[in-house]
Symmetry: C2
Subunit: 253 residues, 2 copies
């Protein structure tokens, strides 16, 4: 735990998420993926297909976090402007990346598709970018500095992460433990706060849910230090058992 933990932000790009037409699935996937490899996802943003908005968000996030992961806006149509925005954010020109051109030409030839101007737009990338492999539909994503630019289609983005992951410095993954408390948040709040104070290196959250026989609360403990996590877990279990024994174990917050 001597090296600093890598941090990350996710930037979802696209009017379709903000209009409600598309229900995002990429944030949840990336949150799980990054958590599993010990990279702390600290922030996420969703912006529309407006170049200035994308530029501002990319620049705010890349200055602040170890990595930025973007999804969306790298297809062949007029509303696909992510590559232009990232080039502008980095202050570099955009041009057809030769390696991407070759990948696309070979793929379109194989598939019998016309390599028209729109399709070849997908090879346009900021100067200095390196490609991200797309095993699903070939058109690559790209890495520019600490920013990873990926497709919005979940199946493609998920596959791209397997290439991206090889380039990331992994951290110590957060471990988590959950205690299912048969009572409301409000019953557990005070003693839980005391456990939290005793274990500042363990992050404790409480999440109410409706169980078949009444309201209950998941008490979730998270830490990179497994020994400390087990100690805090024992303390939370003891607290929950005592509340049940005292008859304070049912009710909604």
């Amino acid at each position: 735990m001597t090296a600093p933990q890598p941090t990350a932000a996710v930037l979802l790009i696209g009017d379709e998420i903000l209009s409600g037409r598309t229900k995002d699935k990429n944030l949840g996937f990336l949150a799980d993926y990054l958590t599993a490899i010990g990279i702390d996802l600290k922030e996420a943003r969703v912006v529309s297909d407006v170049e200035e908005e994308i530029v501002a968000a990319v620049n705010a996030l890349r200055a602040r976090y170890t990595y930025v992961f973007t999804t969306g806006g790298i297809g062949p149509t007029h509303d696909d402007i992510t590559a232009d925005a990232v080039a502008r954010a980095f202050g570099v020109p955009i041009e057809h990346n030769q390696q991407a051109v070759e990948i696309l030409l070979a793929y379109f030839k194989e598939m019998g598709r016309e390599p028209n101007e729109a399709r070849m737009r997908m090879a346009r990338m900021p100067v200095g970018a390196t490609l991200i492999d797309n095993p699903v539909s070939k058109a690559p994503g790209f890495q520019m500095g600490n920013v990873f630019v990926m497709a919005g289609v979940p199946k493609i983005m998920n596959a791209m992460m397997d290439d991206v992951a090889t380039r990331l410095t992994k951290g110590v993954p957060m471990k988590s433990r959950t205690v299912e408390f048969r009572g409301g948040e409000g019953d557990a709040a005070k003693p839980l706060g005391e456990v939290q104070k005793a274990f500042p290196a363990v992050v404790i959250g409480s999440y109410p849910f409706q169980a078949p026989d009444g309201f209950a609360t998941n008490l979730v403990l998270r830490s990179r230090d497994e020994a400390l996590l087990e100690q805090a877990l024992a303390a939370v279990r003891k607290m929950a058992d005592e509340l049940v024994a005292a008859g304070k174990a049912r009710g909604w917050s």
Copy 2:
């Protein structure tokens, strides 16, 4: 269409979304809700349970958009810090709101629950806030200026929006039309860009999907002007028919 369209941002607050533990459903609900009443959702952010992060996001967003809608962090436990953060963002003190205290005391009495210190924390609000009704579990949300602070539990947040909606200036709702194009994005991109140029007041997006018999693309047109929308729809349909007639109607981007 003379009055300016109201705009909005959504701020989701909570470690559980960024860790992947909880898959957010609130953004999609709010996006649909706001679109239906003619309020343009322009941006969304997800931040962790860290006071400075919440304060910075609230202040960035409330200065920029007509309305800000937050979800999460208003329960009784130590990680529920949204009310404190909003008070700090507005530079006002936080105290027990008398009306909220009365609602909670009556509810806890009715339910036979102890009105302990943790539970009564849910009545703490920035000075000047007005309550948002919670028909599900009583603990109210609150409005402070143009910021609406709601619960993170989807069922409660959804119910709170019915009270919130009565306080919002509605705009002219966006209408949308979809043309299912039996071909790839790359086939439609160039002529579609030309239709977009001819109808700048209609926002045209293209969204590839996998149909049972091959790849296809939804071409989505959005506008507040229904007559213009129908004209653009006719132009896109004509374009799609011509591409099919020319044999350019199958393929992935």
